[in-house]
């Protein structure tokens, strides 16, 4: 039976319209905040309306730590400070979580073993939030409130600070990247904290719980008593989205009614994780050049539109076996009925398009091509990126595209009229290849270990997709989980931990080193126009081509034996209630 014959025109059209409404809203809010973010990037925070409050708080901390923005750092000092700051936070988090049962506000079942603690701390520290523990009870209220929430703020602040340093690297010519403490405080108190408070208020109003009591007993009809975990859910929901962290209080994340009660919170949560990454990219319209900012937004949205359409349409077409029975609901398996196909899909794609990783449904239940839409974003290192990291990532592609396009018109490459030398190419190449390497190498190794492969619930080829999803999510610091195997094993806990560390700090380090190269250089004075018009369609096309050729095409053999093969054989689909 031809599955295309069953497409119900109206439902398809309304789904597509919903998807575009979501995308349009993200653009609108990104545009609204972009002017504000621009002021943070150009060190004009005193011109923001939050200055009277946030300025005092930042001043207070700066006086306390005896740091200020005049103490400018070069790459070495900046990155070292960033690493040490994160390292100590990680150590403190580790101690708190590993010994959480010895601290107050804990219950007997609050315990994690060494490998799980290692994985969990790194996961929150690196803005990944890959949750290998499955139960909200695994963490005590204290761990939730201080460690997890704290690390969520810290990782988002670190990411944004890094992007401030990167942009300063391009704008400056004195070799300085800025002061990490100042950048971090500005990120937190001017951007992340105010937005989190705003979103918290909205989601509490919509019925998301915020309490210190740890659980209540509920008595579902026809079932015995169930412990329903509670806690500081609303705060966590806000920071997990605003900070593109993605680790929800509930294992089911945004698919759990108390984490995402209705269509409105679904939009609010989606907008909160799109807000800063898209706003940062759009702020480049003011920081550098309007057409350049528009071009980047356009290229990234093209990827978003394409992958979200791929996922939505795949989910809409549904599972052939079920459609054959005359039930044309699309693939509702693992999706919340009150959200429906389009909102679930676009939320999910948005969550991997940014490095959030929140999920509004069971990812493992997506159709193979629906999954391909998600995987494509993951292997591209989350095109729009997380708070701050998105800008830095896209610039490595831009540097490389400039290199190729400049050569093609017979010029030596320049970024914002700053000459790109062989060192810059070296660092952007390193940064571009690091991501595929830390995904493919662990994948290749894991496939060779039968014991590990034996823990998969699905057989070939679905398990290839699941495995690729796991490492892609860890490497891009996304944190969404397809699951499909026993994630909480010391093998995956340690391996993912290392991948997350490399995916975060190694790549960030190389990228800041790239910024350092630019920081010494002065832009060229242009009399009429630059050789390469970075706002042009040709450049946008080449950027997209480079992203696809370098980022996506290298995965074709794995895609072929994973999602494409599943799809091709009318997918070997296993319905697992993995929510």
């Amino acid at each position: 039976m031809n599955i295309y014959s069953i497409i119900d025109g109206n439902r398809a059209v309304s789904g597509i319209i919903i998807t575009f409404i979501y995308i349009g809203l993200a653009l609108l809010f990104g545009y609204l905040i972009s002017g504000y973010i621009k002021k943070l990037y150009t060190d004009e925070e005193e011109k923001t309306w939050l200055y009277p409050i946030s300025g005092r708080i930042v001043n207070f901390f700066e006086k306390f730590f005896n740091e200020n923005k005049n103490k400018q750092m070069k790459f070495k000092e900046y990155f070292f400070t960033l690493i040490m700051f994160n390292f100590f936070a990680g150590i403190i988090g580790f101690v708190f979580i590993y010994f959480q049962h010895d601290f107050p506000y804990s219950y007997a079942n609050n315990h994690m073993d060494l490998s799980l603690t290692f994985n969990t701390v790194i996961s929150f520290l690196t803005n990944t939030d890959l949750q290998h523990y499955s139960n909200s009870f695994d963490l005590s209220i204290l761990s939730w409130t201080f460690v997890v929430t704290g690390l969520m703020f810290l990782s988002a602040g670190t990411g944004f600070a890094a992007s401030m340093a990167f942009i300063r690297g391009i704008l400056n010519d004195n070799g300085k990247l800025g002061n990490f403490y100042h950048d971090f405080l500005v990120s937190i108190f001017y951007l992340i904290l105010p937005l989190t408070i705003l979103v918290t208020v909205i989601v509490i109003a919509m019925g998301v719980p915020e309490t210190l009591s740890s659980y209540i007993n509920v008595f579902p009809i026809g079932s015995s008593a169930v412990k329903l975990p509670l806690g500081p859910v609303a705060t966590l929901v806000s920071i997990k989205n605003i900070g593109t962290n993605g680790g929800g209080f509930y294992g089911a994340n945004a698919a759990f009614p108390l984490g995402n009660p209705d269509w409105f919170t679904n939009i609010v949560e989606y907008l909160s994780f799109m807000l800063i990454p898209l706003g940062s990219i759009m702020s480049l319209r003011y920081v550098f050049d309007k057409r350049f900012g528009n071009m980047l937004t356009g290229v990234l949205l093209t990827i978003f539109v394409f992958t979200s359409m791929l996922t939505f349409i795949s989910e809409f077409i549904g599972i052939p076996e079920i459609s054959a029975l005359g039930i044309f609901t699309g693939n509702m398996t693992g999706k919340e009925a009150y959200l429906g196909l389009a909102p679930s899909s676009v939320f999910q794609v948005g969550s991997v398009f940014t490095s959030t990783g929140a999920s509004s449904g069971g990812i493992i239940d997506y159709t193979p091509t629906g999954m391909l839409g998600l995987l494509s974003n993951l292997v591209l290192n989350d095109p729009l990126g997380g708070v701050g990291t998105g800008i830095v990532n896209i610039f490595t592609y831009v540097v490389f595209t400039l290199f190729i396009t400049s050569l093609m018109v017979g010029k030596l490459p320049e970024l914002m009229n700053i000459r790109i030398g062989s060192k810059e190419i070296k660092y952007s190449t390193l940064s571009l290849i690091s991501h595929p390497l830390i995904v493919i190498i662990p994948l290749g190794i894991t496939l060779m270990i039968p014991v590990i492969m034996g823990t998969f619930y699905n057989g070939f080829p679905s398990n290839i997709s699941n495995l690729l999803y796991e490492f892609g999510s860890a490497a891009s610091n996304n944190g969404s989980e397809a699951g499909g195997f026993l994630t909480n094993s010391s093998y995956f806990n340690y391996l993912d931990g290392i991948i997350m560390l490399l995916g975060r700090y190694l790549i960030l380090g190389i990228q800041l080193l790239l910024a350092q190269q630019f920081a010494f250089k002065k832009p060229k004075t242009i009399y009429n126009k630059s050789a390469i018009d970075t706002g042009s369609f040709s450049f946008a096309f080449m950027l997209l081509a480079v992203i696809i050729m370098i980022g996506l095409l290298s995965y074709l053999p794995i895609f072929a034996l994973g999602p494409l093969y599943s799809w091709a054989k009318d997918f070997d689909f296993m319905v697992i209630g993995w929510i």
């Binding site: 490389f400 290199f403 190729i404 396009t405 400049s406 050569l407 093609m408 018109v409 017979g410 010029k411 030596l412 009229n417 700053i418 000459r419 030398g421 062989s422 190419i425 070296k426 190449t429 390193l430 571009l432 290849i433 595929p436 390497l437 493919i440 190498i441 994948l443 290749g444 190794i445 496939l447 060779m448 492969m453 070939f460 080829p461 290839i464 002065k522 832009p523 060229k524 004075t525 126009k529 050789a531 390469i532 018009d533 042009s536 040709s538 450049f539 080449m542 081509a545 050729m549 370098i550 095409l553 290298s554 074709l556 053999p557 794995i558 072929a560 034996l561 494409l564 093969y565 091709a568």
Partner: protein
């Protein structure tokens, strides 16, 4: 080097120590050696060893060998071109006799014994034994063996002469400026040889990227090994090797060294010696060109064409005075005034000059002439003379302006407190110069002309030629200051110069071309020397620089775009045991082994097909960058996607026709 030499050299390129510098080809060569072992010990690699497969392994081995061989061949071909250049240079290095002036005695020594600072005397029809500077006398020198120009050129005091050129008139005294082995020809040979080894920063950047891509594909192919092992397919190492070699950018990787060497060779064919490959590449990226005088864009030799006496001043007297003040002036202007005056059959007596002291032209004063106490005859720029002598003559001003507006140069002559007339020197734009400047504009290069001429003349020629900016009445410092000013704006500056006072500016410029007729100091400071001394050739070098970059960029795009078709041919063929993946088999190639062979054959022959392109360079017509980008994306990007599909299909069909069935 003959064909045999080229081939032997290409085979020598297989040496691991050599090929490791090119990671893409290094990987290919390793794949080649592994494939040999696969033929010999198929069971050891756990691959099928039926005769069909053995034929397949053999053809893979041959093709992998050819891939590396063709890459080496392209390098070897361009090296042989440079060797042809060096050996022709070597032939010029003949040891001659030299008349060394030592302790006021002339002794005859071999040219090899000359040291820097030695004074030698060169007589008529003798070969100049070493590079040096004329310190006495003047004469015509035939430089055809260096420049290819058969017309002898005049060498005056202060000019530099090149060893191995021949003095055809008179006798000159030359101060040797180099030690043996450092002569101009020696350095030319060194440059051409170095170009073979030295890699430019841009080339290094590109090979870093190519190595990165190679590393990714290496890991991807390794992951296919574990993927297929996991799925229970026996992974065939030989097919994985083919996939690897097909995916890594062998096309650009193989041709990259040849592109760079070919460019330096081409510069030599323009009769320009570049001291480094980097300078040629930088030339492609120039933002500003500084032309050092009006003569760069005009025919050059400004000839005196007409005498205009002042109101009520005797014509013959004016001509005579003009002649007298120019007799000792050896500038081109001075000589031409003498020539023109002599045509007028003016009677004069050289003894009249005895009472006068000669005031030579200097760029500081902008005038020259003769002087005896209060009496003087001076000629020079209107501004300089008016200021110096405190004169203001509206009639003379009018004539000067009129001449300038015509594009001529007015040289007023003043004698004893008044202007006595104006000499008109005329010059015209070189044919085609307008178009070339227009080309520069298309390439987004701004042009600056510094000239000692007055405002009106400079404006006239700048306007006529379409030059963006001019600085009239410029002093020697102005050149240096302009270069520094542009450098401070981070712009790439090219300049042309020949005088000693140009040396500081030349040393600062990114691309500095000195004329071979220029002084030794200028040649030392420059990074390119134009043997024919035709300044507009700088524009050719810019074209060439752009051409190298475009060739590299386009071939990289082409090479990477090729991967799409190779993926869609090899992946379905490799996983033929999963018929469901047949939808990836766009070309519908039914025989997997033949499809894989076809892809590898394409991968190999594309290198040969592109060798001429790499050596000649991608066609470059000056146009705006955005048009060029669009054109190259279509030709090399889309072409790179579509062309291999067609080619692989044709090769596949030819293989079937040839009865190749595995």
């Amino acid at each position: 080097m003959d064909l045999r030499g080229v081939i032997i050299n290409a085979l020598k390129g297989f040496d691991f120590r050599k090929i490791i510098k090119n990671p893409v080809m290094f990987i290919t060569e390793i794949a080649f050696f592994i494939s040999i072992f696969i033929i010999i010990f198929p069971s050891y690699f756990n691959v099928p060893d039926t005769s069909v497969y053995i034929y397949f392994y053999i053809s893979v081995t041959v093709l992998l060998f050819l891939t590396v061989f063709f890459s080496n061949l392209s390098t070897s071909l361009s090296e042989s071109q440079s060797m042809a250049i060096t050996s022709s240079l070597e032939k010029m290095k003949i040891s001659t006799k030299a008349n060394l002036l030592k302790d006021n005695k002339i002794i005859t020594v071999s040219s090899d014994e000359l040291r820097k600072g030695d004074i030698i005397i060169v007589k008529k029809d003798e070969t100049i034994p070493s590079d040096g500077e004329v310190i006495k006398g003047s004469g015509y020198v035939n430089e055809s063996n260096v420049t290819g120009e058969s017309r002898p050129v005049i060498k005056l005091v202060g000019d530099s002469v090149t060893g191995s050129t021949v003095l055809v008139t008179d006798e000159i005294t030359v101060k040797v400026s180099v030690n043996p082995g450092e002569s101009f020809i020696d350095s030319m040979i060194k440059v051409v040889q170095n170009a073979v080894r030295e890699r430019t920063p841009n080339e290094i950047a590109l090979s870093i990227f190519l190595s990165g891509v190679t590393l990714i594909f290496l890991v991807v192919v390794a992951s296919i090994f574990s993927l297929s092992a996991y799925t229970g397919i026996k992974p065939n190492i030989d097919i994985l090797l083919v996939l690897l070699v097909a995916l890594i950018p062998t096309t650009i990787g193989g041709l990259l060294p040849a592109i760079g060497i070919a460019a330096v060779n081409k510069v030599s064919q323009y009769n320009i010696i570049s001291k480094s490959g980097k300078a040629v590449e930088n030339a492609g990226d120039i933002d500003t060109i500084i032309l050092d005088k009006t003569g760069t864009i005009t025919i050059g030799e400004r000839e005196a064409v007409k005498f205009y006496p002042n109101q009520n001043y005797d014509y013959h007297d004016f001509v005579k005075k003009s002649l007298l003040c120019s007799l000792n002036d050896e500038t081109i202007e001075g000589l031409s005034i003498v020539r023109l005056a002599k045509k007028e059959n003016i009677e004069y007596n050289e003894d009249e000059l005895k009472n006068y002291e000669f005031v030579p032209f200097s760029s500081e004063t902008s005038y020259s002439g003769i002087k005896n106490g209060d009496k003087y005859i001076l000629k020079g720029s209107l501004r300089a003379l008016s200021e110096k002598l405190n004169l203001n003559d509206t009639y003379i001003n009018g004539i000067c302006k009129e001449i300038s507006l015509k594009g001529g140069t007015a040289i007023p002559v003043a004698s004893d407190g008044k202007f006595i007339g104006v000499i008109e020197l005329n010059d015209i734009l070189k044919p085609g110069i307008r178009d070339r400047i227009e080309d520069l504009h298309k390439m987004n290069i701004s042009t600056v002309m510094l000239t000692g001429d007055d405002e009106v003349t400079a404006a006239y020629f700048a306007r006529e030629a379409g030059i963006d900016e001019y600085i009239a009445n410029s002093k020697p410092d102005d050149k240096y200051n302009k270069v520094i000013e542009e450098k401070n704006k981070e712009r790439m500056v090219a300049m042309i110069g020949d005088g000693t006072n140009d040396a500081p500016a030349l040393a600062k410029a990114d691309v500095a071309m000195a004329m071979n007729t220029g002084t030794q100091a200028a040649k030392d400071a420059a990074n390119m020397i134009d043997l024919d001394s035709t300044p507009t050739k700088l524009i050719d070098v810019i074209f060439l620089g752009k051409q190298i970059l475009i060739t590299r960029g386009s071939l990289t795009t082409f090479s990477i775009a090729n991967d799409i078709s190779k993926y869609f041919v090899i992946i379905p063929a490799m996983f033929y045991m999963f018929p469901e993946l047949g939808f990836l088999n766009i070309l519908n190639l039914t025989d997997p082994l033949r499809a894989i062979t076809a892809a590898l054959i394409f991968n190999t022959i594309i290198i040969v097909i592109l060798v001429p392109l790499a050596l000649r360079g991608v066609k470059y017509t000056p146009s705006s960058a955005s048009d060029l980008l669009k054109r190259n994306i279509i030709v090399y990007g889309f072409g790179g996607i579509v062309f291999p599909f067609i080619m692989i299909y044709i090769i596949y069909m030819l293989l079937s026709l040839g009865g190749v069935a595995w």
